[in-house]
């Protein structure tokens, strides 16, 4: 009898574990700004996909490089062809953890500061990162907000000699995403 209860509760746990533990978005926003005295080059992408498993804090985010929109004329071509080489490296990813998330009560609305730890891969190169993220719990959704800097050298992005003063070595990146509870299919 005891065993039966145990097994049932185990399966029940598995079942619960599979539900509403994951938050997802497909319309996350990422913005970058390369500021130099000569020229500001920026771009944005609102098709960032991310998933967060709040049961263990695991997180994966995927940014499709070709989905960036650059308002400067011909900049998108340079961005894709010369710098990001998006035919060879079509996406940037973050695979890691938000460990503090497991300790949060996500049923209560509020603002938290958590850390994102993991591997950021851009242009086929990976770097370990540790980054503060503002997390707002509102109406059952998780709104993540994060500003950081990317040193393009770290990701093997090279700038031709003659345009060195037009492309920033350190690019400012802003990320905003609203993750909603994932519905099981």
């Amino acid at each position: 009898m005891k065993l039966k209860i145990l097994i049932i509760s185990l399966f029940a746990f598995m079942f619960i574990n599979g539900q509403a533990q994951k938050y997802i978005t497909k319309t996350g926003y990422v913005y970058f700004m390369s500021h130099t005295d000569a020229i500001d080059i920026d771009g944005s992408n609102n098709k960032v996909a991310a998933i967060l498993d709040v049961s263990n804090g695991e997180m994966v985010a995927i940014v499709l490089i070709k989905a960036f929109e650059l308002p400067l004329a011909t900049a998108d071509k340079h961005f894709n062809e010369t710098y990001m080489e998006s035919d060879d490296h079509p996406k940037a990813t973050f695979i890691g953890k938000l460990p503090e998330v497991t300790g949060l009560d996500l049923t209560v609305e509020g603002e938290h500061e958590v850390t994102a730890q993991g591997t950021l891969s851009i242009h086929g190169k990976s770097q370990e990162i540790n980054q503060k993220v503002k997390l707002l719990v509102k109406e059952g959704k998780l709104m993540g907000n994060c500003d950081f800097k990317v040193n393009i050298d770290d990701y093997g992005i090279t700038v031709p000699e003659d345009v060195k003063d037009r492309v920033a070595k350190v690019v400012d990146v802003k990320i905003k995403m609203t993750l909603e509870p994932m519905k099981n299919k």
Partner: protein, 296 residues
């Protein structure tokens, strides 16, 4: 004992399931993501192949200032510095009303003409959720001679000064190294020099661009032109061979060609030099892109 076995199996299962869920987070996300439409970028480096326009367009608010220049033929001899004494040029502005629609206005020294065009994209090469094997752009060009004609009747006539070129530019980027372009062309000239000259000329342009380095390509261009020789004049197909180099906002094309004209109606229909007889000249285009985006 059986009970304990089942229990440990269940725990093992649960554990394995938990592990799998973590590993599969990325797969799960990929599964949720809709397949994107991946547009092809950089089929050509600039809006021009060499003489011919390419399927590349400026992005919205882009303003391109372009100077095209051609020297005289090498065969003109030492007294003319092998052609470098002669020149003709085109100064033009191109503007992007939309990402898919560019217009341009220029002034060519040859025939003292004004050259206007509109260029719009019908199809854009893409893979992924939408597969499109080629990019397709329409180029409509009108060339207006402003020169003074000695014949008063001829000089008064305005409509006869127009020559029109319509082109369908069809291009495909093959992998990362080679791009090719087909340019079916129709030229209509309102007035031609003699009765023996054709008013309508058809041509087919063949172009290729080969990547040497990220921002350097070798470009080739040939036009197969409908025969339109007259008893006094023999016309040749224009053949051009050159390189295209690009910096952040400048593009340069330097090439050798047997065509003298710069505007479409001229270099396609009025090439009177034979490439294979060495009657070639050096030509170059320089363009600078500005952005007139009010948000910048």
């Amino acid at each position: 004992m059986a009970a304990r076995k089942i229990l440990s199996l269940a725990i093992l299962l649960l554990f394995a399931w938990g592990m799998q869920a973590q590993d599969d987070l990325e797969a799960m996300l990929l599964d949720e993501m809709e397949e994107p439409v991946e547009y092809t970028f950089g089929t050509f480096l600039s809006t021009n192949l060499l003489n011919n326009q390419s399927t590349e367009l400026l992005n919205k608010y882009g303003l391109n200032f372009r100077i095209s220049h051609k020297f005289g033929s090498f065969t003109s001899g030492a007294s003319k510095s092998f052609g470098f004494d002669d020149s003709n040029s085109l100064i033009a502005f191109d503007y992007a009303i939309a990402d898919w629609w560019n217009i341009g206005l220029g002034r060519a020294t040859l025939n003292e003409s004004l050259n206007g065009y509109t260029k719009f994209r019908l199809l854009r090469q893409s893979t992924g959720a939408k597969t499109m094997p080629v990019s397709c752009v329409v180029l409509l060009n009108a060339n207006y001679k402003t020169q003074t004609f000695d014949d008063e009747e001829r000089d008064k006539n305005r409509t006869d000064r127009f020559e029109y070129t319509s082109q369908l530019l069809i291009a495909r980027k093959f992998g990362n190294l080679i791009s090719a372009q087909l340019s079916p062309t129709y030229i209509h000239r309102n007035l031609v020099s003699t009765k023996n000259d054709l008013n309508d000329i058809y041509a087919l342009g063949l172009g290729a661009s080969i990547k040497v380095e990220k921002r350097l390509r070798v470009n080739l261009e040939y036009f197969l032109v409908q025969k339109h020789d007259t008893p006094n004049m023999k016309y040749y197909d224009p053949l051009s061979l050159g390189v295209c180099y690009q910096t952040s906002r400048h593009a340069f094309e330097v090439f050798v060609t047997n065509a003298n004209g710069i505007t479409e109606n001229h270099y396609i229909a009025n090439t009177t030099h034979n490439f294979w007889a060495g009657e070639v000249r050096v030509g170059f285009n320089i363009s600078t892109v500005f952005s007139l985006n009010p948000k910048k």
